[in-house]
């Protein structure tokens, strides 16, 4: 019995830490599938988290927080788009810039507006997305295994968690079953062909970048409004980069992206759980190794030892219309 409890506990925290990764990863998916590399996921998440927490604190409403978070993230995404689509700048450089601007301005503005050392005020319950109890979860709590899984693992998450997991099939549907998705993927592989067909490469890429902004806004909101009760300085702590790693790990596909994020989340949850406790056979595993594992796995994958990750062909290349 104790084993099941521990397992549910670990899986539960896996879901909690995976959600921001998953949202950011899907965000990156839209942009990169359209041929715009985005290492600015981290910055957009951070800006979204800050804007969401600030707005939710001022208006005491989680929904206003969410809206503002998405607006700010989309704004940052549009800066990236403006630099890399309109002005054909280097997409990596632009992403790095976004990360720095977000990292600095969230602290400076947070300090200036709230005077709490870069934090936003702690949010009241109505400023957060609380846990949702699924129907029948309480009744089933005592049923062994299945009831425990249902009430302990599936139920009791915030709205944004469910949105994140629903976004996976939705993204798959958009990318692989709609005209927009077909064009979006085409523009990431061969923009000239899309252009020849009379479709605006610029506008398509902008729309992809806006999708990225919306999803990173959600990711930031999840961190500031659901997982925590407010914004703490540098709260994304490299998650944008792990999401990027997960995206590569998933070879730019939505469903594998979910599994990659869950895997990386599981490693994270496990490393917190195992802190200091020795494992059978292997002995004590350093926490740092567990923390570095997502990155190491991604490098190994990139090296082509576990399948091959082939990025969208036109990724990172600004499109110049031939005259």
């Amino acid at each position: 019995m104790e084993f099941i409890d521990t397992l549910i506990n670990i899986l539960n925290s896996t879901i909690r830490v995976s959600v921001p990764l998953l949202l950011a990863c899907l965000a990156g998916l839209y942009s990169e599938r359209a041929g715009v590399f985005d290492i600015g996921l981290e910055g957009k998440m951070l800006a979204g988290a800050f804007a969401g927490a600030a707005a939710a604190a001022v208006f005491a409403s989680a929904w206003i927080g969410l809206l503002v978070a998405m607006l700010v993230s989309v704004g940052m995404a549009l800066i990236h788009g403006f630099a890399s689509i309109t002005h054909r700048g280097n997409q990596i450089v632009s992403g790095v810039a976004i990360n720095f601007i977000a990292a600095g301005s969230t602290i400076i503005l947070g300090q200036a507006w709230f005077q709490q050392g870069g934090r936003t005020p702690s949010l009241p319950p109505e400023g957060r997305f609380g846990a949702i109890t699924l129907p029948g979860a309480d009744a089933l709590r005592d049923v062994p295994v299945i009831g425990q899984l249902y009430s302990g693992l599936l139920s009791g998450h915030s709205l944004l968690t469910y949105v994140a997991f629903l976004a996976v099939p939705f993204t798959w549907w958009v990318l692989f079953r709609t005209r927009f998705g077909l064009r979006l993927r085409a523009v990431g592989e061969n923009p000239a062909a899309v252009d020849t067909a009379g479709i605006s490469v610029t506008w398509l890429r902008y729309r992809a970048v806006i999708c990225t902004g919306i999803l990173t806004g959600l990711a930031g909101s999840y961190m500031a409004l659901a997982q925590n009760a407010g914004f703490v300085k540098d709260m994304t702590a490299g998650r944008g980069y792990i999401a990027l790693a997960a995206l590569i790990f998933a070879k730019w596909k939505p469903v594998p992206a979910m599994f990659a994020c869950l895997l990386f989340g599981f490693l994270d949850a496990l490393s917190i759980r195992l802190q200091g406790t020795p494992l059978p056979i292997i002995g004590k595993v350093p926490v740092q190794l567990m923390q570095a594992l997502p990155y190491i796995l991604t490098v190994i994958l990139l090296a082509g030892f576990i399948g091959k990750a082939i990025p969208p062909r036109a990724g990172g290349v600004p499109y110049v219309k031939e005259r």
Partner: protein, 380 residues
């Protein structure tokens, strides 16, 4: 490089456009200062005075600039080959291990002028090794070097935390850092050099001899890139990998060698804070210098003659920013992070934003300078 933009005279290309971009970046930063309710002009005055107003300030400014010269050169060398080494942070961090081990091993037996060359070698070697795997993967397997170097930054951070907490921390000590180095592991300060110019510098000022090393490296990078066969090959590869291949230049060799040099330069940055100032290996001693290198390289147009002033400018921001935080409570040192981001945005990603406008202005004054309509206009 097939840029879709017409050519400008060199002085406009290398002087005017970066200057305009830089001014815009600082103007936007000024808006942020305005947004938090402070006077941007006063902030700028405090910043410059804090950085250059006293001997002590100058010493700190140059101390920070030393870090940025190394990392800026590292990024620039990779840029010349068309590679984006975003891993300077991790290469410098892990190189701290090399510096630390040399200093710990020899500080009691050798004088500093013997430990120093060994530490230079160790830092360069470890930094280069950390760049080797991403370089190899890029050259042989086509894995995107940006992603692998980002991953290696995180791996380096984990390795260093592990080493400092579990291995190098002296028994009984709480702080995750190595023991203090003895005399032989401490670099001489350069305060006296500033004192020669009549400036007052307290002996605590951290400016040390690695600043001179940074300047030497800047010169060597110039020699390498513009005066050697290898540099020519690197630049060819950067301009057009196809042309390089056609000329019989080995892509694999150039990518790996370039990244080794880049990693070595980033690694040498570790000397400055570790042996020059802290005299131990602390956690997080790089604190973003690897990323500042990107801004510095972009601002300096990947030329050592541009990188050194750009690094000093960022040194000024770091030192002046610390002073600013005292005077204006609403502005912390994180203001620099914003400025850094804006510089990267306007001097890097948006470098071509003002180009058409400037071209238009040039074309209206003297069409020939822009290389358009000269033939049409005169012969018609």
């Amino acid at each position: 490089m097939s840029t879709p933009y017409a050519k400008l005279p060199a002085w406009a290309d290398y002087g005017l456009i970066p200057l305009v971009n830089l001014l815009v970046a600082f103007a936007v930063a000024g808006l942020v200062v305005l947004l938090v309710g402070e006077n941007p002009l006063r902030a700028a005055v405090i910043l410059v005075e804090g950085a250059f107003g006293s001997g002590q300030g100058i010493a700190y400014t140059l101390f920070y600039a030393t870090n940025f010269i190394f990392t800026g050169l590292a990024v620039a060398v990779a840029f010349h080959c068309g590679l984006f080494n975003i891993g300077g942070e991790g290469q410098a961090y892990i190189a701290g291990l090399g510096v630390g081990l040399v200093a710990l091993a020899f500080d009691s037996v050798l004088p500093w002028w013997l430990t120093f060359p060994l530490a230079i070698l160790a830092s360069a070697l470890v930094g280069a090794l950390w760049a080797l795997i991403p370089a190899y993967l890029q050259a042989k397997r086509g894995s995107h070097i940006v992603i692998t170097t980002i991953m290696f930054n995180f791996i380096a951070a984990s390795v260093m935390v592990y080493m400092l907490v579990n291995v190098l921390k002296p028994v009984g000590s709480m702080a995750p850092q190595t023991r203090q180095f003895l005399e032989g592991g401490q670099l001489p300060k350069l305060g006296w050099l500033l004192a020669e110019f009549g400036l007052k510098v307290r002996p605590s000022a951290p400016l040390n001899i690695s600043f001179l090393l940074a300047l030497v490296m800047a010169f060597l990078v110039w020699v390498l890139i513009w005066r050697t066969k290898l540099g020519y090959e690197i630049r060819t590869m950067g301009f057009s990998p196809k042309a390089a291949r056609y000329a019989g230049i080995s892509e694999v060799r150039i990518i790996i060698v370039t990244m080794l040099i880049s990693g070595a330069l980033a690694g040498m940055m570790a000397l400055n804070p570790i042996m020059g100032d802290q005299h131990n290996v602390p956690l997080d001693f790089v604190s973003g210098a690897g990323f500042v290198g990107i801004a510095v390289a972009l601002m300096g147009r990947s030329h050592p003659a541009g990188i050194v002033p750009a690094a000093i400018l960022f040194g000024m921001l770091y030192q002046g920013g610390a002073e600013l935080a005292f005077e204006m409570p609403n502005i912390s040192r994180d203001m620099i992070v914003i400025i850094q981001g804006l510089v990267i945005l306007f001097a890097g990603a948006l470098e071509n934003m003002f180009r058409p406008t400037i071209q238009g202005i040039f074309a209206s004054f003297s069409p020939r300078s822009v290389g358009i309509s000269a033939t049409k206009g005169e012969r018609a």
